[in-house]
Structure formats: C-alpha cells, structure tokens
C-alpha cells in the first residue's frame, strides 16, 4: 500500500551491522526520504543473532519489518540468512556473506550447522547474491570492514552510484578508518559485475 522500501540487516552480535544501517539511514535521509532505522542494543549484542531494520520512503511509520516485507536482506552470515529468510518479500533479494559462525548449540554438539544453506535458499526460487565479504575485507586491510564490503554490494543494487556512498562513509566513520572503509566499500561495490 505504500512506497516504503525495506532493508533487513542480519548477522551475529559484534559483526558491525549497526554501522551498515547507520550509513544506509544517513544516505536515504540525504536523498530526501523519510527514514526509520531500528537497532538492537544490550543483551543480544553478545554473540547472539541480531537484526537491524532500515526503512525509507515518502512517509515511514513503523520502524520494524515483519515477515514477507523485506525488499532486500543483507546477511552477514549464512545461518542468519536462513533464519531471517521468511522476512523477505516475494521476489525480494538476499545478499549474503558466505562466512559461517557456529552458534553455541553447534559448538556444544547439540545441534548441526545445516549444509548447503545458500543452495537451499536458491532452490526456493529466491534471488541470491553470495560474496566472501570476509576475504574482500581482508584484502582491503581488516576483517572489521566486512560490514562495509556488504554495504558496497547492496549499494550497487540500490543504484544511487558510488560517489554518494563514499561521501557518506567519509563523513561518518572515524577519520583513521576512512581509507580502509572506502576501499572495502569499493571492493563490495565491484564484487558482482
């Protein structure tokens, strides 16, 4: 019923999902959209499954995204992509990092990490872009920039051009990390040609 676009960012606490959502929010605000970004703070930060919602459009009311509503899911980890898949809208896009992080039940041997997660999602007819963002971040200089690599991949899909994002990064991240983050962004932006 509305023109609002929904981006869901999911991952594991500590992977830097908040910075990615902050950059997205700032960018859409500068483009003149109404924006809402819902974050998770507190307990679930400690290695738990985390989700951040970014919504933009003419007038955005709810800060959250429900099942079947996300235009794009950006997942920082394979298992989290599977967990949050029901939030994707019919015909939506899943961008996922190929990294795997074992949750505690898997470490303890009480549960199995599912195999071929990305293939199984594709078999459901979902459009998937999978990238090894960890490796690209390492190439850019630090695993900590994995979040910005994934943002770069998403930015290409959002079609606003590279420059807007690089400006936002420059204005947002700590000065010492500007070059690293810009490089990571470009690697993500050019990951899929």
């Amino acid at each position: 019923m509305s023109d609002t676009k929904n981006i869901l960012i999911v991952g594991v606490g500590g992977q830097g999902t908040l910075l990615a959502s902050k950059l997205l929010g700032k960018c859409f605000l500068e483009q003149g959209y109404d924006v809402k970004v819902s974050e998770v703070h507190g307990m679930s930060q400690r290695g738990g499954s985390v989700v951040t919602y970014v919504r933009y459009g003419k007038e955005v009311f709810s800060p959250v995204i429900d099942k079947g509503e996300a235009d794009i899911i950006i997942s920082f980890e394979q298992l989290e992509a599977a967990r949050w898949l029901p939030y994707l809208k019919k015909g939506g896009l899943l961008i996922t990092n190929t990294q795997k992080l074992n949750p505690m039940p898997v470490i303890m041997g009480t549960a199995e990490y599912p195999e071929r997660v990305i293939d199984k999602i594709k078999e459901k007819g979902v459009r998937v872009i999978a990238v090894d963002a960890l490796d690209l971040a390492l190439q850019a200089g630090s695993v900590k920039a994995t979040n910005v690599v994934l943002l770069g991949v998403a930015a290409k899909e959002l079609g606003l051009g590279e420059k807007i994002w690089l400006d936002i990064i420059e204005k947002t991240v700590p000065p010492k990390t500007v070059e690293l983050n810009k490089e990571a962004f470009v690697k993500g932006y050019n990951a899929i040609s």
Partner: protein, 588 residues
Amino acid sequence: MEKVLLLGNEAVARGLYEAGVTVVSAYPGTPSTEITESACKYDEIYTEWAPNEKVAFEVAFGASMAGARAFCAMKHVGLNVAADPLYTASYIGVNGGMVCAVADDPGMHSSQNEQDSRRHAIASKVPMLEVSDSAECLDFTKKAFDLSEEFDTPVLLRLTTRISHSRSPVALSERLNFEKKPYRKDVMKNVMMPAMARGAHVKVEERLKKLTEWADTTAFDLGINKKIMFDRKIGVIAAGSCYVYAREALGENASYLKLGIVNPLPVKAIQAFASEVETLYVIEELDDIIETHCIKLGLKVIGKEKFSFLGEFNQGIVRKAVLGEEKESVSLDIPIPPRPPVLCAGCPHRGLFYALKKFKLYVSGDIGCYTLGAQAPLSMMDSCVCMGASVSGLHGFNVASGKEQAKKSVAVIGDSTFIHSGITGLIDIAYNKGISTVIVLDNSITGMTGHQNNPANGLTIKGDPTVAVDLEALARAVGIRRVRVVDPFDIEGVRKVVAEELEAEEASLIISRRPCALLKNVKHEPAMYVDRDVCTGCKACLQVGCPAIMQIKSDAGKSKAYIDPNQCVGCGVCAASCRFGAIRKGGN
C-alpha cells in the same frame, strides 16, 4: 531546517538540552542508557551516573526543588527501585520542572520481565506522556517540562525499546535559556509528614481532574494527542509504537485517536471518537489500560480479545488481527539452530564460572552479562530475580537450609550491581551473623548496558578520574572479616580460595577481579592453539563454553578441538580444561 537522524534516546537528550535542563542523573539500563550518555555530550548539562535509580530520581528531584529543570532516566524495572521517591514526589510537586523517562521493554529484548510502567503513573497519580518516534522524543520532552511546571508535578515520559533504539529524522532548535527559579522554604509543600501529606493528597486528586481536562483539550492543541480521520469503518485508539504499527498496517483504511498522554487518559475525546467510527479497536502492548478506561466509559471496544498481553507487536500482528491478512513468505524446511547471546571470548566471568563448576553449588545469581553463565554449558546459576537479589536471596536460602547447605552455595554479583543494591544484602548477612559466601565479579565497568563507568571503577560519566569505592574496605567496614581477591583466569587459585571460604563458618566476600575483555585498554594475549596430535577429541574444552573453541574434523575423519584465532584473545582458561595439555599458548 536541517534534519538529522537521531535515536529516540538521543532525541530525548536533545530535548533536555533545548528545554534548558541543567541536571541529569541516571543508572544505566537497556533500553534507556543512551539518553544519559547523549545528554553527557552537552556541556551545559551536569550529568552523572548514580549508584541506582532511587538515587538518580532523588538527585533530580532535589535539583528541581532547588529551582532547576532536572531529569532522570531508567528502564522499567528501574522505576520499581525509584518508586518510593516517585510516589511522594507526586504529593510535593516541583519547583523547576522535573521529568523522569522510563523505557519499557515489551518482548524482553534485555530484561527480566515486561511490566507496564503505565501502572506506576496511575498509582503515583502523575502525568505520563508516551512517544512514537524520535521527533516526538524531542518535542514531548520539552513539553513535559512545561507540563511539570504548569501542574506542579513530576512528569513521566514513557518510551519502549523500539522507540528508544530507532533512528528517525529530527529538526533541531536552539536551547531555551531557562532561568533557575529561586528556592523558598515551604514546609507545608516540601515536608511530607502526615499533616502536610493529607493536604497534599487533596491537591493531587484535584490535579488529576485538571490533567484529564488538559488531555481532552490542550493536549490536542499542542499536538500531543491527535485525531486523524480517514475511513470511519475502523477506528483505532493507540499510543506510542502501537500507533505507528497500526498506521503502517491500516493506512487510510482506518481513523486514529493517537494518544500522547497516557495518564490520565482523555474522556470526552475518546467518547467523541467512539461515536464517529463503526468498529473501535484499542491497540496496546502489555496491559489493557486504555481498554479498561474505555470499558469504564461504557464503550464497546475490541482490545485484548484480539491482541495479546504478551510481547512486542508489529504491523503484521495488527494486519492479521484487524484485517485477517498475512504476507506471503518463504522459509527453509530445515532445523535452524538458535543463536543465543554468549559470554565473549576472553570474558573474565567465564573463568570464574568454570572454576566454580567443580563444586556443584547452589548459585544465587544477579543481573548483568554474567547472567549468561546460566546457559549451557556453564549452567552456573540457580536463580536470577532483580538487581541485588543474589546476596540477600542467598542469605535467606541459607538461613532456611542450614549451615551445611551454606557451605555449598555462593552468590555472584557484578561490581556495578553490587554497588546498586548488593551492599545492603551484604550488611544483612554480616549484621545477622550469616555465613554465606558472596562473590563480586569486578570487571571494572557496567558491562551489559554497553560500558558505563560506575562508583567502583574510579571514573566519572565523562571519564574523568574520581574516587573509587574500595570494595575490600567496604566489606570489612560492614563487618565481613574474610575478604579475598582472586584472578578469574587463575582457575586453580580460584578453586583454592573458594574451597576455603565455603568451609569457613562465617561470611566471606570474594572479589574476582579482572577487567572486561572488551575494554579498550585491556591488552590481549596471542591466540591459544590446539596441538592436534595431542588432542584426543574428548570435548572437555567445549565445557568452557567459549565461542572461539569448536570441534573440527581432521583429515583422518576424527573430530578434534580447534581454536579460532580471529576470536581467541588468549585468556588461557580453556588450557585448564585440557588434561592432556593439548591447548597451548600461541606466539606472536
């Protein structure tokens, strides 16, 4: 005017700045913490971390009495702690305006219960405003101070997790130059003894009536309450996050009475709205407060018959309940293992819990990161109630169970929580000749809420050096003669001290001291590694419950331990778990 994206909590802080507030006191509590952290960035505002919410409320109230505009913030359960001053502050009223923000946590993202703070507003008879986005966080904060001064009452500002932790656009204004009001001694107003309180209560009841009129009239003029008419087949009464969920789900297919003041509730406006729509819904998370009010007014409403008392709502829940519609979605038909939060790699709490595990103890737990030690594989907690309850609860458990049980039990409590309200329990133990063993997990920070300084770590909210509570001296001063300090990474050392203190037939305090692994000034050791030739694959190291240790299949197909060098910070606790000596310290 330029708009900026602010968290709801940051926008409340901006509202404090613009309202000319000069005094802010708080105890950290998710989801309210960032209000005070953001307020601290304005040099014009004196900001402090208080030892608990009761103190924070009283500091703000004292500042208001002195004539300043003052503020305190807390999470919902914090308001229980501050309830004592709140209820009588309601009788006294204010000099400079006073606002207390309380952040509820429907869905319990980071809380031990999901109580509805509106109950405190009703019971203490003070007005409560509720916000639905960051712009309102700023705007209502400022208006709350005007309301406070106009009606001579503290005002509660209710947020919920979603509003506190969502960013949305906010337009900024200049700071009001609020002139501190003069203080005048007024015993009848400010000293609550029975004779004065009887008179004050009369005023409180009159105030509530006037506030109801205000909610019906001025609140609409000020944009705090809003009537938004579209299609009249469905009418929705809602406040805060529930309004935005309803608006998202129903759009212009419904009309809305959006309430910005949730105590007292308007009467005439609700009656009028009810008469203008065909089917009337009340959508509210947690308790049925607006619905009960409507029923009292004799109105027919649909509320909790369609909407749960439990958890957090969203637009999907509203869509399904009102329209019976659901969005299509895809899911994988495979089991997806849960990913609960865990103690971080290198967390000092892990060492302490792992060392304790051997003793098969009753562990009286408390609120903080260490509550995560309750989960497998550490499974080191028997109870967790509220801030400070570990210490007093253990004393009660041991009084009821006798001396031998006391030798098989401990309380665990963080440094900040101990200062908050654990110390009173320790005084109870010492004074009443208890023999319990209390362990303070001193990691030099308030961890779970995201690293706030506290009275025990020697730094103010701004990071400036100050006096630090000397925990050892404090314990001795209240009458605890056995005070020990251990390093939680020294597993054998911890076990030796714990064994001695459990055996002692008098109360002891053990301080398990090591800073949080996430603190910037904490130097990490090189990652540990597993000698896969020595590892037998026995899985004993998995009992440490560290996210950096896992089992990986070797080429020969046998599962053996592996330590992820990206996550490991070299604390070495896992090495103590390996009787084959397969876990080694790494080099640079």
